[in-house]
């Protein structure tokens, strides 16, 4: 009788233990449902690990109401780990997030990655991931990243800035060859931006209100409109040309 009772307790303990072990092994339920994000991102970013710096010409069209910017061209310089320089005489606003190609932005060691769903993109199978930068100083709060295609690459990125601006960038690639390397690099990026309502800024000084003829010439930027689009075409990729650090110093 006593032996039977001991057996039952031992069996119960074994059951609890095995259940706990299984749960620990499997991790959280949602993470177990899809591919391992760390592996996927490592696979996607691996071809770009050869890039130490790059240069590319961009031509962009900004179509945001009340944000009238003429079409512009610029040369983008990038150097690892995350330095950008836009060289142009024009006023060139490029949306943060995915408009500027940064292959190292989504490195697993710099972000919290999680798989969200299998979500086809324009009929193409893709996995949707959530990426949260670990650095609290980042201007982007989080990303949603669609990965698909063959070879696997980032098809679409939706970034949410600290200010609450959403920028959804659809990326189309071209195979670019340089010497013995060949990389899938962006050819066109179409960014759709959604600006949040920011409320009415308190008027600090009546003389400097937006309706004052005293200050209209030096008014501050009012709230941006609700939606807009930016289209960017990339051409003339070249990488690992040994860009000088001085290029990235703020003048």
């Amino acid at each position: 009788m006593k032996t039977g009772k001991h057996r039952a307790i031992a069996l119960l303990a074994a059951l609890f233990l095995s259940a706990a072990l299984q749960a620990a092994w499997a991790g959280p339920a949602d993470a177990a449902a899809g591919p391992d994000p760390v592996k996927v991102f490592a696979e996607v970013l691996k071809p770009y690990s050869v890039i130490r710096d790059y240069t590319v010409r961009v031509e962009a069209k900004v179509r945001i109401p009340d944000f009238r910017v003429p079409d512009f061209a610029a040369t983008v310089y990038f150097k690892r780990p995350d330095r950008f320089h836009l060289e142009t005489k024009n006023f060139a606003p490029m949306p943060r997030g995915a408009a500027l190609f940064d292959p190292f932005r989504f490195r697993p060691e710099k972000n919290r990655l999680s798989w969200l769903a299998a979500e086809p993109l324009e009929g193409e199978p893709a996995d949707l991931f959530r990426v949260e930068p670990l650095d609290e100083k980042e201007k982007i709060r989080s990303y949603q990243v669609w990965i698909g295609g063959n070879p696997k690459r980032i098809l679409q990125v939706e970034s949410l800035s600290v200010q609450g601006v959403k920028a959804r960038a659809r990326i189309r690639y071209a195979l670019v060859r340089q010497d013995n390397d060949a990389l899938w690099l962006p050819e066109r990026v179409a960014v759709k931006m959604t600006f949040p309502e920011r409320g009415v800024r308190p008027q600090e000084n009546l003389l400097y209100g937006p309706d004052s003829p005293v200050s209209r010439g030096m008014a501050r930027l009012e709230d941006l409109p609700s939606e807009g689009a930016v289209e960017i075409a990339y051409a003339g990729w070249s990488w690992n040309r040994g860009l000088d650090d001085s290029l990235f110093r703020k003048k």
Binding site: P65, H85, T88, L221
Partner: protein, 279 residues
């Protein structure tokens, strides 16, 4: 008439007070540009670009000479009337104060012709002053901060390509001159009322300051009288930097500014023709 204008021009431009404005802005503008270069530019970056840089990576020379030329034009036109009144206020009152009216009016020229000549010279001085400030601010700013597209921030943002900016600025200066013509003609009018040139200066500035307060305060009663005050049209030059340019509004404002100038000059003429210069 041309001889009279020439005579008045010599009189005006041989007086020291005519150059006070040129001297003041000749010192002030380089000082401000130097201040901007030595760190003041960062205040603009913080206030203007920081909002944009939250969501955009900005390329190009944004805070360039055109930008500061535009900024100066916007910031200084409230102060320009002060120096304009120094000369405009002295044109008629100065003669009364010096006791030279009787001598002047014994010549062949009629009162109307003499006053018209004085008025033309006042307008010439006004145009010269505005152009001096415009060319000085823009020239210095371009020399120090370089060129690029012009970023205009109002309700939203307009970027004007550099290629069209000389034309925009020439037109803006033209409209700024027209606005300042109203100030000078008002001061010229006040100058006809008195023999002391300080009075017209103070009176003109008082009118401008009170008008500015009235059009700025968001009270319903003040807003109703806003269209009747000439300072309401002072910012017409800024419309040149809108996209698209509201030509209809600009043309209407040009007529209004010309109307105010003509009105003030007509009253001056009428008053001066009846003015007792013997007592």
């Amino acid at each position: 008439m041309v001889r009279l204008v020439w005579f008045e021009t010599i009189k005006t431009f041989t007086r020291l007070r005519t150059y006070i404005g040129f001297l003041a802005f000749g010192i002030l503008v380089p000082l401000v540009v130097a201040g901007l270069k030595m760190g003041g530019q960062r205040a603009f970056e913080r206030n203007l670009l920081a909002i944009l840089e939250q969501d955009f990576i900005i390329g190009g020379n944004v805070l360039n000479g055109w930008f500061f030329g535009f900024f100066f034009l916007g910031a200084l036109w409230v102060h320009v009337p002060i120096v304009l009144t120094l000369v405009a206020g002295d044109q008629i009152a100065g003669e009364g104060d010096a006791g030279t009216f009787r001598f002047l009016l014994t010549r062949a020229g009629s009162r109307s012709r003499i006053i018209t000549a004085k008025f033309i010279v006042t307008l010439l001085y006004t145009a010269a002053m505005v152009l001096f400030i415009g060319v000085l601010t823009l020239g210095l700013s371009l020399a120090v901060f370089g060129s690029g597209d012009l970023l205009v921030v109002k309700r939203g943002l307009v970027v004007l390509p550099e290629s069209g900016l000389p034309a925009h600025f020439l037109l803006a200066w033209g409209l700024a001159i027209l606005s300042m013509f109203v100030v000078s003609s008002l001061c010229f009018l006040f100058s006809a009322f008195t023999d002391n040139s300080v009075g017209p200066i103070v009176a003109t500035m008082a009118v401008i300051i009170i008008s500015l307060i009235i059009i700025t305060l968001p009270f319903e009663m003040f807003q109703a009288i806003r269209p009747w005050l000439f300072v309401n049209y002072f910012d017409t030059w800024q419309k040149v930097f809108d996209d698209p340019i509201p030509w209809g509004d600009i043309l209407r404002n040009v007529w209004i500014l010309l109307g105010f100038t003509a009105l003030f000059f007509s009253i001056t003429l009428a008053w001066f023709n009846r003015k007792d210069i013997l007592s």
